[in-house]
Every structure is written in C-alpha cells, then in structure tokens.
C-alpha cells in the first residue's frame, strides 16, 4: 500500500532505516514571560480592544452578571455549560438558554441565536487570546456560529502568553479533540486588502475578566 511505499522512499532519501531512533531533537524553547500577574487583566483587555473587541473588567461575579445582562438585552443568547457561568449567575439570566448537551439541539440553537456566551479555559494576556478546549462544559459551536461571542473569564485563568500555555499544557490532545485559540473577531482582507469583520465566525467579541 502507499504507506509502505512512501515511508520506504522517505527512508531511502534521508538515509535512515525502519525503527531507527531519531537524532537528538533541538530542545523545546519556551520563554515564559516574566510579567506582572497583577497587570495581566489590564494587558489582556487592552489587547482585545486593540483588535476591535469589547471588554469589561468585573470586580466580582455579580458585576459580570449585570454587564452581560445589559449586553444581551433584547437579544437571544445561548450560554455554554461552563460551571463558571453558573457561578456568575449568567447561565440563569432571563432570555439565556443553557444546558444543551445534544449535538443537533446545539446546532439548531447556535444557528439562530444572536449571542453565544462561554467561559474560557485560559486567556493569553500578551496577545489578547482566549483558549477554549472542547469539553462537556464547552461546546465548539457556541463561540463560532452566533454572530456575537461573550467570554467570561476568571482572573486566575489568565496566563502571560503562548509560552506559558504550552508550558502548562504540553499536550492538549490528551484532554480534548479540539483546542482553539481565539484572538479577536473573525475577519478577512481578501477583497482589496480591505478589512471586513464577521465573515464566518463572530464579528463581535466581548471579553469579561472577573476578579
């Protein structure tokens, strides 16, 4: 079959034999930023704003709840099953649907709802990035299909940057089939290099940091 044929061609070309151990790999290079953790929230939110995202720094969960309530007023919303959203009382805001575990229901809801509300497993301060793992608590489509996305993240999950993420999570594949790094609203510049937001993913993203 092609597998044997291709592997054989590869080995012949590079002068290796089957089962031969690899040569020594270059060391992993992770430079975890020596940042000020206290400043991380501000850094994260500033970066998100620079990407045309909206932000809010909630001192406590109740503030987050109030902010989200105002943000979704008059609109339909689906919240993920993230425990943190329940803790903040966001999951039970009037008008917010939550608790979906069925794939078809999820698709149906995501394709019609105005806003998807999620938490995030981590956030990366230096790039304004949300890190979302697909789990029973967080479905993938909620941060993808609806035209707007609100992410509510507790302070403690904000990392300095990409290097710290890979330092603490060397292999996300062990935990999930999908890890997505979300940095700003969906965009394209495919027509005359003119920036357009919200092509396929959400055109509006809001990051709420709590604590």
């Amino acid at each position: 079959m092609s597998r044997e044929h291709i592997l054989h061609r590869v080995r012949t070309a590079i002068g290796r034999s089957a089962g031969q151990p690899p040569s020594a790999a270059p060391p992993v290079r992770l430079r975890v930023l020596n940042d000020d953790p206290a400043a991380r929230v501000a850094t994260l939110l500033a970066r998100v704003e620079a990407l045309a995202g909206k932000t809010y720094h909630a001192a406590a969960p109740e503030d987050a709840r109030a902010f989200v309530a105002a943000a979704i007023a008059g609109k339909t919303a689906l919240a993920s099953n993230a425990p943190f959203l329940a803790e903040c009382g966001i999951a039970n805001l009037p008008g917010v649907r939550t608790g979906i575990t069925d794939r078809e229901d999820l698709r149906e809801c995501c394709s019609t709802v105005d806003i998807g509300i999620t938490s995030a497993d981590y956030a990366l301060a230096d790039t304004g990035t949300l890190v979302m793992l697909s789990t029973p608590r967080e479905a993938r489509l909620i941060s993808l299909l609806p035209p707007a996305h609100i992410a509510v993240v507790p302070r403690g999950r904000i990392l300095s940057g990409l290097d710290e993420l890979f330092a603490i999570l060397p292999n996300a594949a062990e935990l999930t089939s999908s890890m997505v790094l979300i940095t700003g609203p969906s965009r394209t510049a495919d027509i005359e290099q003119i920036l357009v937001r919200g092509v396929h993913g959400p055109g509006e993203i809001t990051v709420v940091a709590v604590g």
Partner: protein, 459 residues
C-alpha cells in the same frame, strides 16, 4: 524560458491596473510584517527563526520517525491516517468515503495542498459538490481561477471584479462594497457548512507527539469546516510534521507575523481526532491524508531539501521585487513567488520551465524574511546549474554554452581579455542579442576611451 512564461510575464507587466493591485497588496502585507517583527515588537525574532530552522531540519532529517509517531497518536485518539502517493489516490479516498457515507456536499477550507492536486476538479468530475469556504478561494472557485498568492488568493481581484463574479454566478445584484460582498458569501456558505457531510481542511502543522492537526486562519471557515460536518478530512503534505506541540510556541509566533503582521491569527485550531466521549459537538470521524506527490523527490538533496521547511507564510512573495511585478499567475504551478520558483523545478523537473530559476535577480530579500531560513537564492543557484547540466546532456542551448566557454577562456588570458574590452568600448554598437535586450529598457553607459588598466599603465 518558454514562450508561455515570457508571454504571461509580458501580459502582467503590461496591465497597469494589475500592477497597481499586486504592488499595493503585497506592499501592505510586507509593511505589516516588518512592523510586527521589529525589535520593539518581537525582540526574539532572529532567535526564533534559528530555532524554527533547526526544528524543521530535524523533523525532515527524521521524517519517517515523526510520520509514524504522528500516525500512532492520531489512531490512539480515534482517527485514521491515510498515506497517498498522488492526487488520484487522494480523490479516490475522498470519493470512496463520500460514497460509503452517502455524502454529496463537501465544504473545504483553504489548502494549497488540495490546489496542488486539483482536488475540487476531481471531486466535481465525479458528481460531488465541493465548496470553498475561504472568501478568497470562494471567489476564485466561482471565477474558475487558480490562487494568485499563497495567503491572499484573490489578491489580483478588485471589488468590481468580485461584484461581477457574484452577479454572474450567484445571481445577486451588482454590489461593490467589500463588507456587503463578504456578507453575501457568508449567507451562502453558512448553510453549506451546516448541510455538508464532509469537511476537508489542509494543515499548517502536523504535530507528531499529539497526533494533532493545526489550522491557522482569520475567518472562522476552517473552524466551521472542521466542526459542523460529521466527517473531517485533513489533507497535508508529509513535510508538515513537527515533533512536539510545544514547538508551536516557536512556529506560531513566526507564522502570522510573517504572513500578515498579526501576533496570532484570529483562530488557531489544534485538532486531534473525532470528538471524545462527552464532547457535545465536533466530527464523529477524523482522517488525516498524508500526501507525497513528489515530496520524496526533494528529500535526497541535502542542499535543496530545505525547500521542504516552508510553512507557507508567503513572506517571500510579499517581499520579492519579481513577484510584485509578475504576480502569481505568471508562474507555471500553483505555488508562486520565490518558494514556487524553487519547489516547482524540483517537483516537475528542471525542464518543465527552464527559465524559472533564472527569473530572479538573486537580491536575497526572500531569504531575509523567511521565518524558517530557507536559503532560497542558493537553491536557485543550484537549480540554475542543474538546468545548464540538463541542457548540456540534451545538447540544447549550445550557443550559450559556447559563449560561456569563451568567457572562461577570455577571462583566463589577460591580454585577450584586454583586447576584448577594447573591442567592446570601440566597436560600433550593434543592437542584437543582449545589447538589444538591454537597450529595449534603458540606455547603454557611455563607453570610456580608456580602461582602468590603460590609465594605470600610464601612471
């Protein structure tokens, strides 16, 4: 060079609007990259390049090991790896699976590898609908054109071009506002994502220790392509494999900056298999197609195998003064720009387009911006030598060979050289050959009466 190549170059140079479109689009991308890797923005930039080069070198030199490790890990997470030696095997696999699962609609995210093997054409030939979902690729699919640029496929199209294409193919009214055009595409494609039975993606990286496929994008179409349909097939060249997930800390910092000047692209997906127990959405089946299609032909040459390090950022295109004039469609294959110039002869043979390695002033701007430090000018020089060796073997271009033999003889006989120089300076100028070519574009320099050595000898 071939007449075809010559003609395409001429046509592109003669089109003033196209010249402006190419130059300004690449200029914007070039400037954004420069800003994003400057010392104040990314102080580690040069160090990261060195690491990235070392990682790619190591992966390629141990490619079989990493392919097998990748395969084991994909399978451990419930996915399947399929090795395909060419485009026919890829489409056979997809067609077979589609048939078995009763799939008639496929959505695709942007993948140069699938362009390389004309996947859409093959699928459509067999009655499947395969829809490009990246806006630029979608526009080109409607226009039946090849990508113009590795990262910005519709770089050569104006909003008026797109308006005309949408009006004709989608039967919508003529609309030139880019935002509105994007919304039209979004509307059409949304339903396709939800209805498609298979989502096909490429892969920016294949991570050996995780069995993961990494997808880098800005629109969200790759996420939708790989989340909504029940089946995900990722198609990637075998050279895309990197050893460890942690190596992404190096590559991801370089890729988006080199391509568009972004610190990170909007969405970076790390996908390792069908959805796990408890996960609410995601595909139920996950396949990774590992494609050869000639990559094993580039491996044997120690000097040239660095051509496989490419992470398809297109920084070389954006900075290349030649690409910025002749554009993507002048190139004979789907890969254009400096990277296209070095891999095309290696995949297709040097005689496929013998002028290609010579369509460069060897300015080296490409090597300077390549995030994985491919020494493109050196590979071009090696390919030039191979073209000439082939011509010697095939006994073509004999006059040129003879003239360089004469050049070597003259340059090793100083008195003959001095005489030849005198002739150049004093003989009447005849506008044939190189002289004619030179004077078609610029004036000749004035011919000095005396050479330097004449003046020196009279001191």
């Amino acid at each position: 060079m071939s007449a075809v190549f010559d003609k395409k170059i001429h046509q592109t140079l003669a089109d003033a609007n196209l010249q402006l479109a190419i130059y300004s689009a690449t200029g914007r991308l070039k400037d954004k990259r420069t800003e994003s890797v400057a010392a104040d923005a990314l102080p580690d930039y040069q160090e990261l390049r060195t690491h990235a080069n070392a990682l790619k070198k190591h992966a390629i030199e141990n490619l079989d090991h990493y392919l097998e490790e990748f395969e084991r890990n994909v399978e451990a997470h419930g996915g399947k790896v399929v090795y395909c030696k060419d485009g026919a095997e890829v489409s056979d696999f997809v067609l077979d699976l589609a048939k078995q699962r009763g799939v008639s609609l496929i959505v695709k995210s942007k993948s140069m590898t699938t362009e390389e093997v004309d996947l859409n054409e093959r699928l459509e030939h067999h009655g499947l609908e395969s829809v490009e979902t990246d806006l630029g690729e979608y526009i080109l699919q409607l226009a039946h054109e090849r990508p113009y640029h590795i990262v910005a496929p519709a770089l050569h199209k104006t909003r008026y071009d797109v308006a005309a294409i949408f009006e004709k193919e989608l039967h919508v009214s003529y609309e030139t506002v880019p935002e509105k055009l994007s919304q039209i595409a979004r509307g059409v494609l949304r339903q396709k994502f939800l209805d498609a039975g298979i989502g096909i993606s490429g892969a920016n990286f294949l991570v050996a220790d995780s069995g993961a496929v990494v997808l880098v994008e800005n629109e969200g179409n790759a996420r939708l392509t790989t989340t909504a349909p029940r089946i995900h097939i990722a198609i990637a060249g075998i050279e895309k494999v990197i050893p460890r997930a942690q190596d992404l800390a190096v590559f991801l910092k370089l890729l988006a900056r080199s391509a568009t000047g972004q610190a990170l692209s909007v969405y970076t997906s790390f996908l390792s298999g069908p959805r796990r127990a408890g996960e609410i959405d995601g595909p139920g089946e996950f396949y990774v197609v590992l494609l050869d299609n000639g990559r094993t032909k580039l491996l044997p040459s120690r000097a040239k195998r660095q051509s496989l390090y490419c992470i398809r950022c297109a920084a070389c295109l954006n900075t290349c003064p030649v690409y910025r004039k002749i554009g993507g469609h002048s190139f004979p294959w789907v890969y254009s720009g400096p990277i296209g110039a070095i891999i095309t002869p290696q995949f297709m043979g040097v005689s496929h387009e013998p002028g290609l390695p010579f369509a460069s002033s060897l300015c080296g701007a490409c090597a300077e911006v390549c995030p994985v430090k491919i020494d493109i000018p050196q590979v071009l020089l090696d390919l030039r030598s191979e073209v000439k060796k082939a011509e010697t073997r095939e006994k073509t271009n004999r006059l040129e060979k003879l003239s360089y033999r004469m050049f070597a003889w003259v340059m090793t006989h100083p008195r003959i050289y001095a005489w030849a120089g005198w002739m150049v300076r004093h003989a009447p100028i005849v506008k044939v050959g190189p002289v004619r070519a030179w004077t078609s574009q610029r004036d000749l320099p004035p011919m000095p009466r005396q050479s330097f050595r004449d003046i020196w000898s009279r001191r």
